[in-house]
Amino acid sequence: MTGNREQLLALRQATVSFQGFVAVDRLDFSVAAGELRCLIGPNGAGKSTTLDLICGKSRITSGEIIFRGEPIHTYREFRMARTGIGRKFQVPSVFRELTVMENLEIGCSREPGVWHNLFRFSGGADTERLERLALLVGLQDELSTQAAHLSHGQTQWLEIALILAQDPALILMDEPTAGMTAHETNMTAELFNRLRGQHTLIVVEHDMGFVRDIAETISVMHQGRLLAQGTADEISEDPGVREAYLGSGGIGHA
């Protein structure tokens, strides 16, 4: 399915070590434009760290990261973001002191310059688009609620909406359904299926039901390395994957 699509992102021999502990180990990993890739693996496999490398939160100690043909791993964080990479963090991370609408305005970062934004005031041209985004994630009635007062699931959705406001080519989602009810998880799966094609997504997720709902290709990481890659069925039959998940209660409960 991904065969003849243009490659958007590639990690080549990407390695990161934290004071000698190798969290990501010579990882080769690539994603095609428009793909929705799921990244799974037991706790501590290095999934979040991999996303950190792609968005610049952590720096590779060797190897390279190519995005749209450019080696981006030397860029500062904001430059990496401007090339078209958005990140949702594992611990939902929104601006708690600001309202939902204000959060969305921050997310809308096509024009990131200080000077430009000095002459932009709320209620501008983007308002309608942001209100539509709020509707998409079910926060249309909470526009003037302070983000600190949202429920956990709503906070997750707000952060997803922030990324959509940013509108990056590549979206990195770290456990978007963590802490969500079954119903909320279903709605998120629906949302992701709608995003398919418009954005390229890498989704780190533990909930195998959710992964099956959305995934085309699944990549499995273990101890900082890529263990297997394939469809949901191929993955669950892979003996290496089964072994990696032994002791952590099986693939669905990792």
């Binding site: 991370s93 002191e97 003037s144 302070q146």
Partner: protein
């Protein structure tokens, strides 16, 4: 949403109008001079509210840029005086005493009015931009950034005292000409000087309000909340922080220039730790996340301070009283007087429509203690 904006404009406008109308009621020149001084402090509080209240950058050296502005004005006015001993083409008196034979190069451009007035704002801004670029570009935040601002001020103060032949040293620059601009003479003890300060304060307040309500102002608040997160949306956080730091310095510089006009001298004490810490106190008392709150905090605290220190009864104890009040307010009202008043207004029945929150003054936000260390 515009309801709150209108209300805010009305309040800001009304307060400024009251300030501008004071000379109609008061015609005591000494009082006007004293009030003008309080207004200058109000301007300093606005400057700190922008960087500390909005962007979470605690500047413990706000007086540095205030001092630079004040010296710019003093150098300009000094060159306008006719030295008593050496005649009209002579050097400023203190230079003669220090055996300086020709006007030092840094003094030369201050013969120009335009240069001097611009320098009083732009030099402090440039200074802060360089310092900010170093601090924020190097990802120094919180307490460490605050300590650097404090240290830089101490160094600047020492340099001024040390370079006596260029700066007048410990005595500062005194015996200045009267400031006159566009044909108006600004006698320190006159309504015209009061109006000059009040008008500058009004312009500054509305300018700061516009910045705080712009998207840049919103991004600064996001930086205060979670600096790390803002970067991953593609904003250059260091640049934003440097910008607000420099803007705040420019305002402080303007305040410094006005202070020299009002006080008729410049002194190294203007770049002092006591003044810098006082600004922090005014802003904390007034409410650091409210521009007008911070401004009124400064006017109120310095006003009460002035009254107490002059009255016989409190001659000995006024510092104690002020200290006690400060501790009480900060403990009981973490968002300062502005926060407390807002909370009160919200409880009133007709405040139901006040639910629509826009950025600037937080509407229904949980009370947090003023974070002396900034965000991180």
């Amino acid at each position: 949403m515009s309801g709150k904006l209108t209300r805010q404009f009305l309040i800001y406008g009304a307060v400024c109008l009251c300030i501008l109308l004071v000379p109609v009621v008061v015609d005591d020149a000494f009082l006007l001079n004293k009030y003008a001084r309080y207004l200058v402090f109000g301007m300093l509080a606005i400057a700190l509210s922008l960087s500390w209240g909005y962007a979470g950058i605690l500047n413990l050296g706000q007086a540095t840029t205030f001092g630079i502005g004040s010296y710019c004005m003093a150098m300009f006015l000094k060159l306008k005086t006719v030295p008593v001993h050496t005649g009209s083409e002579g050097l400023p008196d203190f230079m003669v005493w220090n055996n300086v034979t020709e006007l030092p190069w840094i003094w030369v451009p201050f013969q120009s009015t335009t240069f001097s007035l611009l320098a009083g704002i732009l030099l402090p801004a440039l200074f802060a931009a360089l310092l900010g670029w170093f601090i924020f570009g190097g990802r120094i935040a919180g307490v460490y950034a605050a300590i650097i601002t404090l240290a830089v001020m101490v160094v600047a103060n020492l340099i001024i005292i040390d370079q006596q032949s260029y700066t007048g040293g410990f005595n500062g620059i005194t015996d200045l000409a009267e400031f006159s601009f566009l044909g108006i003479d600004f006698d320190a003890y006159s309504a015209s000087t009061y109006y000059l300060v009040a008008a500058s304060l009004t312009v500054t307040l509305f300018l700061a309000l516009a910045v705080s309500r712009s998207k840049t102002g919103l991004i600064l608040q996001a930086v205060r909340d979670q600096e790390e997160r803002v970067r991953f949306f593609g904003y250059d956080v260091a640049l934003y922080k440097t910008f607000v730091f420099a803007l705040s310095a420019g305002i402080a510089g303007l305040a410094g220039m006005l202070y020299t006009i009002v006080m008729e001298f410049a002194s190294p004490t203007f770049l002092g730790v006591p003044l810098s810490l006082s600004i922090v106190i005014w802003v904390a008392v007034g409410g650091r996340q409210s521009l007008i709150g911070a401004m009124l905090g400064a006017i109120l605290v310095t006003g009460v301070q002035g009254a107490l220190s002059e009255s016989e009864a409190f001659l000995e104890t006024w510092t104690l009283i002020m200290g006690g009040l400060f501790v009480l307010i900060v403990l009981l009202m973490p968002k300062g007087l502005a926060g407390a008043i807002e909370a009160l207004v919200r409880r009133l029945p007709q405040a139901g429509n006040g639910r629509s929150a826009r950025h600037t003054e937080p509407d229904h936000r949980p009370e947090t203690h003023p974070n002396l260390g900034g965000t991180q």
